[in-house]
Each structure stands twice: as C-alpha cells, then as structure tokens.
C-alpha cells in the first residue's frame, strides 16, 4: 500500500510542470553555480593609498609591495573610488603625516573604508596600516617598535585548520538548504492538495491506515529531498569525504524538511498559501546558511533556528572534514527537532483529514 502511494505521489509530483522544472533546473543551477564560483579563497583586499609628490619615489614601491596597494593621485579620487567599491579601503598620507611618522610622533591618519565593511575587516585594515607606518617610522628613526605578526582567519576557524574556505564551499550548505526548500514546497503542496481535493478521504475509506498514509508521505519527502542533496553533494565531489556521516546528516535533514512540510500542509488550503508560508519559513531556515557564507554576521540567537544544526553540521563535514564526534551534538538536537516537527505535523494533519 505504501509503495502504491509513493508511486502515485511521484507521478503527480512530476506531472506538475512547475515542480519538475524547478527541481531539475534548481539542481542543475546549483551545481553550475558551484563550479562557476572561484575554487580558491580570494582574500585579496584592494587598497588605495595617496602619497604626496616627493614621497611617491621614496615610499611608493614599498607600499605597493607590502600592501599590494594602488597609488592614487588625490584624496578626492580615493574617496570616490572607495565609495564606488573599486577599493575596500584607502589611506591618505600627507607630507605632515609622513614627517611626524619619521620623527616617531603620534599621528592621526584618515582611513576610508567601503560601505558594509564589517568591524573585523575594518580592524584588519587598521592593523595593516599601523604595521606599514611603523615600518616607515623604524626605517627613519631606528626606534624599535614592538609589532607582532597577527594572522586573522576571517570566519569561525572551526577545527583550527588555519585555512580560509573558498566562497563556493562556504556556499555549499546554503545551496543544500535551497534544494531542501524546493522539496519542502513540493511535499507541502502534495499533502495540502490531498486535503483540499478530498482525495485523502477517498484513500482513508479503503483499508489504508492513516499511519501508512503518513509513512508514505514521509518516505517520499525524505527520499526526494535526500536524493537531490545527495546528487549535489556527489556532483561537487563532497560526498566522498565522510560519506556515511554526510548521508546520515542529509537523512536527518530530510526528515526535518518533511516535518516542516507536514506542519505547513496542516493549515494551508491551496498552492498560493503553501507558497506564501513556505517562503516565510524558508527565509528563516536559510539564515544559518547565510551565516556560513558571511561568518562575521553570526549571532547567538541563530541557534534558535533548527536549520542551524543542519547547516552547521554540513559546513563542518563538507568544509572541515569533521568526524562523528564533532557533529554528534548537532545531530542529536536535530533528531529531537525532527521528532517534534514530524509528530506535531502528523497530529495536525490527522485532525485535518479525519
């Protein structure tokens, strides 16, 4: 019976042109996006410096070599370039400033940063500029300056590997979440339609038990979501590290998506309401993925969103080769949330269908 229901749902799902298109297109697009993104971390920070005329010959080469900075002619040109996003930061050094530095005096230097620069990055620029100016000062005054090399890895250095992660790999967990999301809408719509069109009533006056009905939906939901994320993981070559752990995580993640689909289907009446509610919930579920991409945005409240434990686990497994011990806590929390969402969703759906 369960097999017959799953087969029926697959037929209906793939006869819906919208879902078929979005499923295959989404999968292909995510794989393409992954390979289009740079494979290596690109942490070059474009910087511009303004130097007074005579100082260009003396310090120009030093600054362009050490900071990989471009020299620009005036403060106004620098400000416009930073504002337009051509440079992430700009430093203006005048004759007066340079003289003070040479004499080992305290100086105040204008630094410009692009809009949206995170506090951590701003601090990194200040550190770079301080080092450079201290070097100029030491060169002239022979005053010993205590400068320590301070490497900052941007983002959580989860396993202390000290290596930055490429953008495409940082994007992978959010891509997996997006694929889960497409399946969430599809499954929620499939179940909601059973209630709306009365087909669930027709099924439930046969020997089919409601538990079998839910089991079929659950298996379909897990299967569809799991298969797609598995394809993406395989296509990106990430499936082959910690395969069993990754498969386990994706299965638990698929169950979370199924539970949420049950909940959405329990109170939605048509495709538009499914879409509206799913979009709202998906935005929430996607937030932890954004945090992986832009780690400096991280806040503790993000842990209140259940998908955090899925995204965090995927991030650790895919990007940091984490083992069972490092994601076990996350997976246990996720399993508990799965149990609650599937249980509550089934209960509400039972009320709707009976």
């Amino acid at each position: 019976m369960i097999g017959a229901l799953i087969l029926k749902d697959l037929k209906i799902f793939f006869r819906n042109k919208f879902f078929t298109l979005i499923t295959f297109l989404g999968l292909a697009a995510f794989i393409a996006v992954y390979y289009v993104m740079p494979a290596k971390p690109n942490d070059t920070l474009p910087i511009a410096v303004v130097l007074p005329g005579e100082a260009k010959a003396q310090y120009g080469e030093f600054l362009t070599d050490t900071m990989e900075a471009d020299l620009v002619d005036s403060e106004s040109i620098l400000m416009n370039a930073v504002k337009n996003g051509d440079y992430m930061a700009g430093l203006v050094l005048t004759d007066e400033t340079l003289n003070s530095i040479k004499q080992g005096k305290d100086v105040s230097v204008p630094v410009y940063t692009a809009p949206g620069t995170t506090p951590e990055l701003r601090q990194a620029f200040i550190d770079i500029f301080t080092v450079v100016m201290n070097n100029i000062s030491f060169d002239s005054s022979k005053t010993y300056i205590n400068i320590r090399d301070n490497v900052t890895v941007l983002g959580p250095d989860l396993l202390g590997i000290g290596q930055p992660i490429s953008l495409r790999d940082r994007m992978l967990p959010i891509m997996l979440m997006m694929i889960f999301s497409i399946e969430l809408i599809g499954l929620a719509n499939l179940i909601s339609e059973e209630g709306e069109r009365g087909t669930a009533s027709a099924l439930l006056v046969t020997p089919l038990r409601i538990t079998s009905f839910f089991t079929a939906k659950m298996l379909l939901g897990i299967g569809m979501a799991f298969l797609e994320v598995l394809i993406l993981a395989a296509a990106t070559g990430k499936l082959f590290h910690s395969t069993l752990l990754l498969i386990t995580t994706l299965t638990i993640g698929s169950l979370l998506i199924t539970g949420i689909a049950f909940l959405i289907a329990s109170f939605t009446r048509n495709f538009m309401s499914v879409l509206a509610w799913s979009t709202l919930i998906l935005l929430l579920l996607s937030l932890p993925g954004v945090i992986v991409m832009f780690p400096t945005l991280s806040s503790s409240w993000i842990k209140l969103i259940p998908s955090f434990y899925l995204v965090d686990s995927l991030n650790r497994i895919l990007n940091y080769q984490a083992g069972w011990g490092q994601v076990a806590r996350n997976l246990l929390i996720l399993l508990a949330v799965d149990g609650i969402s599937v249980g509550l969703g089934s209960m509400l759906l039972r009320r709707r269908f009976q």
Binding site: K8, I12, G198, T199, S201, A202, V205, L208
Partner: protein, 288 residues
Amino acid sequence: MTQISISTSNLTYRYGNLTAVDHISFDVSEGEVLGFLGPNGAGKTTAVKMLTGQLQPSEGSVTVLGKDMRKHAKQVQQFLGVSFETTNLYEQMSAVENLELFARLFSVKNFMALPLLEKVGLSGREKERVANYSKGMKQRLMLARALVNNPRVLFLDEPTDGLDPVSSQTIHNIIRESSKSGTTVFLTTHDMVEADKLSDRVAFINKGKITALDKPAVLKRQFGKRTLKAEVETANGTIEIRNIPLDQAGTAEQARLLFMDDKLLTAHTEEASLEDIFFKITGRGLTG
C-alpha cells in the same frame, strides 16, 4: 434468511452544540437499496461518514457487515465502496491509473481496469488525464472506483447530481445491477424521482432525525392522496380540469358523471410524489 448489512442504533453526531445526526436507528438488508433523502444540511453526509468509518459517532452504535465500525472500521472498509458527493479523483492521473491505485489499496488480485471502465462508459478515454473529463465522466469514474473491490456495501452520495440524462441512466443501471448481485446500496440523494425509481425503501432525514422510513409505495399510500385528474369539455363548450379523489365514498359517482354530462378529453390517475410526502411530513422542501 436475509442478512442485515447495515444496522444503526441511536446513532448521533454532534459538532460542538449542533447535533447533526440525532439518535437515528435503522437496518438495511443485504442487496437492498436504501434511499436516504433529505435537504442540504439535514445530516445525510455526516451519517454516511459514520457509516463508512470516517467519523466516530458521539453516541449510539453502527454495525456494518456485522462488525462494530468504532472498532473494526479498517476490516469492514475492505468490503465497502464509497462514491463521494464532490469529485475527489487524482486529476493528474488517467482513469486507469486512478483505478489501479485503489485496486492496490484493496489488494485486488489481477485487477483489470478496462472492463470496469467499459461498464461505466469510459472506455476509449481511459488513458487521458482525468482533468480533461467532463463532470459526468468524473462522476462515472468515481462510481467505477467505488466498484474496484466488488464491494458488499456501496455508499453513493448524490451520484447523479447535476449530470446529463445519459450519465444518470448509466449510473442508475449500475445501481440496479449491483443490487441484483447482492450488493447493499446506501443511496444518499435529494432527487426524489431517482430515489423513487431505485430504492427498495426510503428514509427521510430532516434536522438530523429520521422522520419516515418505508417502501416508497407504502409512504405514498400512507401520506399521499390518490386522485383522478380529468380534462373535460362542458356542455357550454368550456374546458375544465377536475380532480377526483380515488379513495372516497363518492368517487364512483363523480367518475360516472365525467362520462354522462361532459365530454371527457383526457383522464389519468395522479399519486403524491415523494417530494410532496416529504413536504407533508417535515413542512419543508428538499431543496431548502
């Protein structure tokens, strides 16, 4: 000895403070067609939901094929066929796929969809998506779906509502055939003519209560007034309609006068319809 297929005793269902079905009791024998008649909101669909195990009664009992539906609904449902009032087919699938799905749910072995589709007049379009079917075709497919497991009890909720005469006739023929072969038919309708034609007995339900339950002929005798309707041309050339009650002392004399004094143009007997009787019993029409 005739077996009882459906038996209810004080069957009641309440939605909050509203009593939708109010202590109804009746039996339906094997092979019998029971017409369950009442206006919209009378409690017909709620009663059917309890009889088919979709709803648990608030009070009373319901036994189908000798089993308590409260406890053994799933066992009994193996032998039920249900056709719903509103279309609830998988419209993205073909007729064959719809029937095959339900055949698998009923564990019907070696199921052949085509003979069944032929029976309901849908052969030739069996592979087309149901979404492209007309209302009549969908209704006939619903009936075919209800017959997939060769049911012992068939519940039909307004099976011909809004259908063309050809579709209605097909469904009527299938109901008669099913009854002849021993299937009990529980026919919910507000079409009195249909109920009169098909039902061995009819039950009137109004405001959740059964107000009358008997053979249509008995109800007509009990509540109806038989008359002879005659069209006559009088001596002065005018045409009159005369209604002569058939069951009164002066009937014979009045009939004789039709031939003596006037020129009789047409004459036929008239019986009260079930609708008239329903109105007489409940004080309301079936469309109300």
